[in-house]
Symmetry: C2
Subunit: 235 residues, 2 copies
């Protein structure tokens, strides 16, 4: 691992707890506005549309569209499906920006702060730059750079994302480690020649979690969380 | 100025003192290696080739080439011109990476740290991402994001750079302020609808400085340096 100079992180689920954050955010909005709805169901349905919406772009069925806009298209459908009425354009924009306000897992900021002293740290996320940047400003995540699918106009797991990040950082793929709580993300990064680090987030999907409870390949590092990753990487 | 949400900075000359840094860097290399040369003259000639080399890309005479590679092409010519011999490939790479080791002006890191508490701060530089990132890591510059010509495959003052930065930040041009010690950079940014901030760096070019001693338009903010900019922007 002594050749690793940068560690890039999946973000949704790996660094931030999107499900609890969004349920809290939408529930608080509903309470403040007197709107009763199945916010938990809406959040789970929103995330369930994440991969299919990106796949339409990845397969060329839709031109490049950043994640904020994919999220918004899905949200517009879901408020109808869940019978949420009376929302203004500003309300919908506010709810959509809930993804900019996601909260980190408790170990994320302390672990990243330790890693930053020795490594370049950046997200490598399907979120767009402003989503990731606003999230970082809001939550105090100390990224050195924001690597985002938007910069490459490709969504993970397309190789253009992992290799594009290494190129921007001026590093060989083998000098970059991909860290994720998702085995599939790491498998794609490994195919591109990146080092890999896994740690589980077993409550990411709440009661609906079906996979990624443990490493399913011999990743270069398997840790308990980001603080443990920092310890294993000598920080 | 209350609409400004992000401040993007020219970097060479505005945030870092490229001339003194490179002269010191190359002189130290020469001393350590017992190589006598006109390092001051070489540095000034290197920078004199900066705009012409980018202009070849801007005019389409050369395909997109990142600044590290433009710098290296010029360096390879200058070591011949200045009669510097005995340099290995590793030596040339080390000298070229002198641009990654530039030192900030004394007010830069304190001023940027103050501004970061209230605004998104990023470079908007013709340097490539890894150059700017390594510089920031080395010097402790607390950027939130690295905006670089490389991301847009256009060099300043092409409008794609200023407008591309605003787009990545998820902001309207009028919500972004360009800060620079160069009137020409600000004129181009203003044409794109950005707010503008000027402060002079009268020793940037040493004895060869011919312009930019003062604001030559009524920029939105005219400050003494980055600490003064922070004060004027309410930080």
């Amino acid at each position: 691992m002594s050749t690793v100079k940068a560690i890039i992180f999946d973000t949704f689920g790996t660094v931030v707890d999107w499900r609890t954050s969004l349920i809290d955010d939408l529930t608080a909005f509903g309470t403040a506005r007197g709107i009763t709805a199945d916010w938990v169901g809406l959040v789970d349905a929103w995330r369930a549309n994440y991969a299919p919406s990106m796949d339409r772009v990845r397969k060329g069925e839709q031109p490049w569209t950043k994640l904020d806009d994919l999220h918004r298209t899905t949200l517009d459908q879901l408020v109808v499906q869940f019978g949420v009425t009376g929302l203004s354009e500003a309300d919908l924009d506010h709810l959509n920006r809930g993804w900019h306000r996601l909260k980190p897992w408790p170990d994320a900021v302390p672990g990243l702060t330790r890693l930053k002293a020795k490594y370049i740290i950046a997200p490598m996320s399907n979120g767009n730059v402003s989503l990731l940047l606003n999230m970082a400003k809001n939550a105090g995540i100390p990224w050195d750079m924001i690597c985002a699918a938007e910069l490459f106009r490709h969504y993970k797991p397309d190789p253009e994302t992992y290799l594009g990040a290494a190129s921007l950082l001026g590093l060989a793929p083998s000098e970059v480690m991909m860290a994720a709580a998702h085995n599939g993300d790491l498998a794609a990064a490994r195919t591109c020649g990146l080092k890999t680090a896994f740690f589980p987030r077993p409550s990411e999907y709440g009661p609906h979690q079906k996979r990624d409870f443990a490493a399913d390949q011999a990743w270069d590092v398997v840790a308990a969380d980001i603080e443990d990753l920092a310890a294993r990487m000598g920080c």
